[in-house]
Amino acid sequence: MMKVWTRRDVAKVGLGGVAAVAMGLRVPQIAGAQAPPLEQKDTYVIGYPQTDENNPWRIAQTNSVRSEIEARGWTVEYRNAQESTQQQLADVASLIAARVDAIFLPPREETPLAQAVLQAYQAGIPVFCLDRDVDQNIVQAGEEYVCFIGSDFYQEGARAAEWLARTTGGNAQIIELFGTTGATAAIDRSRGFVDYLAGTYTPANPESATAATPAPPASAFTGMTIIASQTGNFIRDEGRQVFETLYQANPGATAVYAHNDEMALGAIAALEAQGKVPGQDVIVVSVDGSRDALQAIIDGKLGATVECSPFFGPVACDTLVAYAAGEPVPTQIINTDRFFDASNAAEFIDSAY
């Protein structure tokens, strides 16, 4: 079953992957592959190669996963790649060498880490991808790895749009603060929002739809227009400066859709600096569900925020147990993200990160 993975094989697969991406095809790496089985045990050693610890969301994710593993009496082999894809590849290799039972992998980049998933597969170690997926041209969930667990960014965008349309009665001149250009989270949060307002939104994963999934809108919202859209790189200070300038050039704006809470808080600071009342003159909606954002909702400054849950511990461990027991595991597991607005922010602020 086990194959010795030589450097030449890795190179071949790498080239194959590149060629496949170029042609838009999937290279069938291993025909009829199945994710490596996991023995049922009382305790597991879990490899957890984290991408970085630089922001509150990441830290909350790390704490959730580590504390859940430890609470179950399992062992965690933790690594921190400190925002380096190379380091994360090395971390996965070291976890494979240490013969961990399974790996919870938040892949920093989708294509390079697909190679790491392939190596784990070759070594017979099941991988669960957290919060980001890996390149489906190289490996696929249910075949070379068990599954992807994370949020549906497209749905997050639609939920923000649904709330904004309801709150403004379908009339708004919107400034959109985009996340980092090229980031999946930013692209999908924008698409979901735009599609919902255009009346073309349909849930991306009908089989994994939850109670939170918005119903497709009956028709387009013709009174809601995105009058300006510009990147703020998910950073509060950039969100503030960009919004300040856009709002000054488009004083008719009545709403802000920010791709994360930090940029929304930046926009709120800019509004206050210009003597406007956020929540009244301009309605702000965003995504993330951070503690600062919930406080801003309680203060009446932020309208609402769609949670993008960092609390992966329980769902990841439950999925692993189910997989070991031989139960069928969906290839895409979508987190049940909450929705925070004035009605529940005070209730949930203590559980926000």
């Binding site: 630089n54 830290i59 510009q230 990147t231 509060r236 200070d237 300038t245 856009l246 600071a269 600096a273």
Partner: protein
């Protein structure tokens, strides 16, 4: 210092006279570019541009770059460069919230906590500035390498200080440097003007200013003429660090949060660009603070113009680079 006053001052009279005239000439290119930008906005973007709020926004946004670039001009005038300013902003920005949020503060005196939250971060980064000075002046390591060390490590230090995470706070009194206004003018704009005017005066009218230019012009000659080159270099790196620290505090005050991973990101490059556009020679020995201020305004106004025109971030970067190149070329022709 006073004992050395006569000889270097006499020795550099001609060169500083030339510098005064030259600085006007060198500022022309930048000034022309700035006037062009203003004219463009006044014609095509009048509704949004010719307003008090646009003036206020541009002033608040340019303040951090202008403050850092002013000090950068002094460093560059000595023939050096300071790549660590962005990281120093992050360090200062990560220390202040620790003091502001400290509940175990052993003091009950009003304002003392707030005052310490200004003073301690700036003193700490001043020490880092002295470390830069030590590497450059005492160990004679090339400035670009010497300050690269803190450029790389400084952000890490800031993240360690902050426990790796963004810290938010709400201290309206303390945040006056980022959010306050005096007679409608943003406080950070006032700080910027004070910094620019003081530095311009120091460079033009004081012995220290002449020492700075003499050090950058011909270090060996300056040393032989009695200029305390080592002390001058220490001084400019310390000033650079302290003004970067001040800019860092302004940044976190506006945002009510300190994000060690992002405070002052790219600041070193923006500041160097402002200095270059302004007409200061990167070889040292010639410098114009007013030119640097104009350079900072050009960079700010270019970004503002493109953003209000609705261009994408990628386009903004490319066009800004073009504007910098254009301004530098104009400034060369004027010379």
């Amino acid at each position: 210092m006073a004992s050395n006053l006569s000889s270097p001052a006499a020795g550099s009279t001609t060169s500083s006279g030339r510098t005064a005239i030259g600085s006007i000439g060198r500022s022309y290119g930048g000034l022309a570019a700035l006037l062009l930008l203003i004219a463009y906005n006044a014609v095509f973007n009048a509704g949004a541009f010719l307003t008090v709020s646009s003036l206020r926004i541009n002033l608040t946004q340019v303040a951090e770059i202008a403050i850092v670039a002013t000090a950068m001009t002094l460093v560059i005038a000595t023939g050096g460069i300071d790549l660590s300013v962005g990281s120093l902003m992050a360090i200062a920005g990560s220390i202040a919230p620790l003091i502001l949020l400290s509940s175990a503060a052993p003091w009950d005196v009003p304002f003392l906590g707030g005052a310490l939250a200004y003073v301690i971060p700036i003193l700490v980064v001043a020490a880092f500035g002295a470390a830069n000075g030590f590497l450059v002046a005492s160990l004679r390591i090339q400035p670009i390498i010497a300050t690269l060390i803190l450029f790389i490590s400084g952000r890490g230090i800031a993240q360690v200080i902050a426990g790796g995470r963004l810290k938010s706070f709400d201290e309206p009194g303390w945040q006056v440097i980022g959010q306050g206004r005096v007679l409608g003018i943003p406080v950070q704009a006032i700080i910027m003007v004070v910094v620019v005017v003081t530095a311009a005066w120091v460079l033009k009218r004081t012995v220290f200013g002449r020492y700075v230019l003499a050090t950058g012009g011909n270090e060996e000659a300056a040393r032989l003429a009695g200029v305390p080159v080592v002390r001058v270099k220490y001084a400019v790196y310390i000033v650079s660090a302290m003004l970067a620290g001040l800019a860092g505090l302004i940044s976190i005050a506006i945002n009510s949060a300190s994000d060690p991973a992002n405070v002052g990101q790219d600041m070193e490059l923006n500041a160097i660009a402002a200095v270059a556009v302004g007409g200061t020679s990167l070889l040292g020995g010639r410098a114009t603070i007013v030119g640097t201020f104009i350079g900072a305004l050009i960079i700010q106004l270019t970004g503002y113009t493109l953003l209000t025109e609705g261009l994408s971030d990628a386009t903004v970067r490319i066009v800004t680079a073009g504007a910098i190149l254009g301004a530098v070329l104009l400034q060369r022709r004027a010379r």
